[in-house]
């Protein structure tokens, strides 16, 4: 029996290749995702592992281990006397205080160095020379000297002997002379794309600790146990070995790789899901074509089980071969992606290829999916009556009632889950429930596609049946609703996902536009793009803008985005130099109390935020600022809820306690009659010396706010292109098999006078209809998906729903193009058929 299967397979090579392709692609992406994750993790760990290898112990604040990595601005500094204590512990040979944090430097072009990767400032000590290698010059000796990383040199366009301006959230600009350039161990210019500046300890403290003689961490050298140090410094500090510190640091970095891995895995799984359709379809068609052969096997005594086994054996062979090939290609792709991620995001991190054991899971996925997909066709095959071998079997299309009822039921289950997830009825399972619901609804809608295909294919087809061959193509497309539906479903899923996301993006744009139009009284906005750092400008600049004669009113915004707490709950704080004016610019209104001359211990908060915490006008709350100071503040005003002004507003006097005590945004209302463009120019010239922010009008503002979403959308489209490629292969596969299946029909048509061109067009129309059907369905489902999510996010501020018309039209056009493309090979095959052998074809 197995011999018969294998021999049969050998005679159908082309079909096998097409089926295998889907399995190969799916497996490839799943494997690549796993390899990317493991490789990046390994590569990052490899780099970070070096970071503290020379260090025997690391002392950091017990409060905030993240501070030791310099990842977040932290208030939990280690005072200088602790350093002395550590240095005094028996066995400690050297103890170096580390000051590390984010700084800003202005490059040769007057812009900020490293827009998307941070510039790290630290105190350069002898300990640094192990990990860092001086390439030119020397370390800083004076407080106005700096040694920079090689990446800094290339990014900033500055070199040895040049003067560079640097500052931080808390420190004003100062000039430093570049006295040295260093590289990282392993001859690298950067760890992960960042630029680095090494200062003297005093200079680093001026920039990063507001001049306080304190450190973020202490690195210890010497033959000493961590316990001994811990005993000396007390419970406020955490002591780790260098290895432990390296591991933790690496984990922090590895998260980035993990997230990327998950994203790729997600798209890989979408690809696998899509290829399921392709495999089911192919096996169904193969079985249909082998009907006579299978019937013959049954007639000469093969049991039903043997027929199932014969088809499944074919699936196993395809699954194994295709999965192995897919795994192999996945290793290549994973390596390539790792190189790409490394060179674009990680700043040329050397890639250490890692094939994790889990990548073998991709093999299991590939084989499993193939075999499972083949089960239904296999069982159907076993139902072929032996007598079918003797006669020309007619396969009337099966009734669609069963599948339709199942589809309605499954869609309903998915819909209910989505609804429950959206209405917060699933508690903590909300997101998972929602996503599961979406997945189930997808399956349900897929089951409904056959019944939907009848009217839709007829409708789409009627557009194309102005020629006779077009009409034949339309009839062929509608001939087997299940097959057409499965083929189109693959396309539907990919299109639905992109359309859903595109709908959300366009809704977000519409919402932003509406907010700006209706609530923003200002005409010009000063702000920067959020990159690696929080863009700010100086108070002096703000004052200059406020002093402009044509500025009728200027709203300003300060923010504490890290680490502040109100009554022990982490809370974002805002402040404005003149809250009354700012509220007016944002169309915010006061419900109770007053914001005029907000007292230093006063607080304004919007109604629902106050309500959430059971607070009312006159109540007092305890506010803990990021700099470890606390204050009792009294609620002096309750604001009406409004998206632009919701939040906790403290008095201008408290701004000095913010991590970033600088204005982040300014909103300028231009005096009536004044030329907005002229004022924009004036502001622009004031901002000449502010590299982080720029001035935009409202339209540009909306553009800027939503621009990043376009990038997101583009990335999603690129990643889903894979699923679309598989879907296209599915269309090609279905068409090729249909052509094979209808060889005699084509022969007949050619015999009675159909030209090759007509035959080609007939297949092409069928292809375009299938693709359009998939796209139309996908667009409908995607819009539904986008609408559902928008409803869910309405309370979070996504108030408008807008359709991405341009994209929808382009997807339809793309569907036609895909249809034309997919038809090329099958149509050529149909046109080339030898009329004589086609007629005689069995």
């Amino acid at each position: 029996m197995l011999r018969a299967t294998l021999k049969g397979m050998a005679s159908r090579k082309a079909r096998l290749v097409l089926t295998s392709l889907a399995v190969v692609l799916g497996t490839m992406f799943v494997a690549a995702a796993m390899i990317l994750t493991a490789t990046m993790e390994k590569s990052v760990t490899g780099v970070i592992a070096d970071a503290f290898t020379d260090v025997d112990a690391v002392v950091s604040s017990a409060d905030d281990p993240a501070a030791a990595q310099g990842n977040t601005p932290s208030a939990t500094l280690i005072p200088a006397d602790v350093l002395e204590t550590v240095a005094g512990v028996d066995g400690v040979e050297a103890a170096d205080g580390d000051v590390t944090g984010q700084v800003n430097a202005i490059g040769d072009d007057g812009k900020l160095v490293g827009a998307f990767a941070p510039t790290i400032g630290f105190n350069w000590t002898d300990a640094d020379t192990g990990f860092n290698e001086i390439r030119e010059g020397r370390g800083p000796e004076a407080d106005n000297e700096v040694i920079v990383s090689a990446r800094f040199v290339s990014d900033a366009g500055l070199g040895l002997g040049d003067t560079v301006t640097a500052y931080s959230y808390t420190a004003d600009r100062a000039e430093y002379e570049i006295v040295g350039v260093f590289g990282l161990s392993g001859d690298r210019d950067s760890l992960a794309g960042e630029t680095q500046m090494g200062f003297t300890t005093t200079a680093a403290q001026r920039l990063l600790t507001q001049g306080e003689d304190a450190y973020m961490a202490i690195y210890v050298d010497g033959d000493v146990s961590t316990d001994a140090i811990a005993e000396a410094v007390g419970p406020d500090y955490r002591v780790r070995t260098g290895e432990e510190a390296s591991e933790e640091a690496a984990q922090g970095f590895a998260v980035v790789a993990d997230i990327m891995g998950y994203i790729f895995l997600g798209f890989g799984l979408v690809a696998v899901f899509v290829s399921v359709f392709l495999i089911i379809n192919t096996f169904t068609i193969i079985v249909a074509q082998r009907q006579r052969e299978l019937a013959l096997l049954r007639a000469i005594g093969a049991a039903r089980g043997q027929v199932v086994g014969s088809v499944l054996a074919e699936a196993v062979v395809i699954g194994v071969i295709a999965s192995i090939v897919g795994l192999g290609l996945g290793v290549l792709l994973g390596w390539g992606l790792s190189q790409l991620v490394s060179s674009t995001v990680m700043g040329g991190l050397p890639v250490q290829l890692q094939v994790p054991a889990t990548a073998l899971g991709a093999l299991a996925v590939g084989i499993g999916v193939t075999v499972l997909s083949a089960i239904i066709p296999a069982v159907k095959a076993s139902g072929v009556p032996p007598v079918a071998a003797m006669r020309d079997a007619v396969n009337p299309p099966k009734p669609l009632r069963g599948i339709t009822i199942a589809g309605i039921a499954v869609t309903a289950v998915g819909g209910v889950l989505v609804a429950l997830g959206l209405t917060d009825n699933l508690g903590d399972l909300g997101l998972g429930g929602f996503l599961t619901g979406v997945g189930i609804a997808f399956v349900g809608i897929t089951l409904l596609t056959p019944i939907l295909s009848r009217p839709l294919v007829a409708l789409l087809g009627s557009v194309m049946s102005w020629t006779f061959e077009g009409r034949l193509g339309k009839l062929n497309a509608g001939r087997n609703p299940r097959r057409t539906a499965i083929t189109a479903s693959a396309l539907m899923i990919a299109v639905a996902l992109v359309t859903g996301i595109a709908t959300l993006v366009s809704s977000f744009k519409a919402t932003t536009e509406e907010l700006t139009d209706q609530n923003l009284e200002s005409d010009l906005i000063v702000m920067g793009q959020q990159g690696a750092n929080i863009p700010t400008f100086s108070r002096e600049t703000l004052a200059e803008i406020k002093a402009l004669p044509d500025a009728a009113a200027v709203g300003d915004l300060y923010g504490e985005l890290f680490g502040a707490e109100v009554d022990d709950e982490p809370t974002t704080l805002y402040a404005s130099e003149d809250l009354a004016t700012s509220l007016a610019v944002f169309s915010g209104t006061v419900a109770e109390g007053s914001v005029d001359d907000l007292p230093d211990d006063g607080l304004a908060v919007n109604e629902s935020a106050a309500e959430d915490r059971g607070l009312a006008l006159g109540d007092t709350v305890q506010v803990a600022f990021a700099d470890n100071t606390t204050a009792q503040l009294e609620i002096a005003a309750i604001l009406d809820d409004s998206q632009l002004t919701d939040g906790w507003w403290v008095a201008p006097a408290q701004i000095e306690h913010f991590t970033v005590p600088k204005p982040m945004q300014a909103y300028i209302q231009v005096a009536e009659g004044a030329d907005i463009a002229a004022v924009e120019d004036e502001v622009d010239s004031i901002l000449a010396d502010e590299p982080e922010v720029n001035v935009t009008n409202n339209a540009e503002f909306v553009e800027q706010q939503t621009g990043q979403l376009d990038v997101l959308l583009a990335s999603v489209q690129i990643l889903l292109a894979l699923a679309i490629i598989i879907a296209i292969i599915g269309v090609v596969n279905t068409l090729v098999l249909s052509v094979l299946e209808r060889t005699r029909e084509l022969g007949l048509l050619r015999a009675v006078g159909m030209t090759r061109g007509q035959a080609r067009r007939m297949i092409t129309v069928e292809s375009v209809i299938i693709c359009l059907f998939g796209a139309v369905l996908g667009i409908a489902v995607g819009i539904g998906l986008g609408w559902t999510v928008q409803r869910a996010l309405e309370e979070e501020g996504l108030t408008s729903f807008a359709l991405p018309w341009a994209l929808i039209v382009s997807y339809l056009v793309a569907a036609v193009a895909v249809g034309l493309l997919a038809a090329i090979a099958p149509a050529a095959r149909a046109a080339k058929l030898n009329v004589l052998s086609a007629i005689a074809y069995e």
Partner: protein, 258 residues
Amino acid sequence: MSTTSPVRTTAVSAEGLWKAYGMGEAQVVALRDVSVQFESGAFTAIMGPSGSGKSTLMHCLAGLDTTDRGTVHIGDTAVTGLNDKALTKLRRDKIGFIFQQFNLLPTLTAEENITLPAAIAGAKADPAWLDQIIKTLNLADRLSHKPTELSGGQQQRVACARALATRPEVVFADEPTGNLDTRSGTEVLRFLRTSVDDFGQTIVMVTHDPSAAAYADRVVFLADGQIVEDMSEPTADRVIDKMKHFEELVAAAQGEHA
């Protein structure tokens, strides 16, 4: 030429046809210098045992297969040497086909199948003529049916109607009754006879059934790629008789060309 003239013209002619398949040792000569004419308005049967070349001859005559040597004319058109496009047009406009099986497109109704060649040509079939064929074939109440809803005999009658719908120069029928029961087969043959007698249609039919051949005006016997006998006014008995002595005919033919 006048339509009333009893003088018959030649609808299809072949001159010195040679056709071989394969190469070298495995080469099989299917047609050996075959020359034959088919008069218009006549019903000719081509008979012969399996492998005699009768199907090949029909395929070459119909422009479905190429010839190695010799020429084929349909009416005034030289078939030999035509490119695919011209051959397609020739088949569409001048030739009708009836195959043993699988004559109809399952997606189209009986009526659409009948008008298929006209639809492919982007033309409209002559409605009066169609009515007449449909009536003769007794298909009027089956026109909206799909092939799967028709019996084998009905399907083959639809195929006959399609073959005649364009008033082709010649209808080639390849074992048209091979898949039918006797009654249905008789119906089809009677119709073919009628179409020759009443409509002046030219028909060339390949068959191995003597009783089918008896419906023809003439039977051409083929053996070993050569015409070995040409019988006019055949009856089933005469055909059977001839076939009984077929081995002698073949031997004679071989002797002749040896």
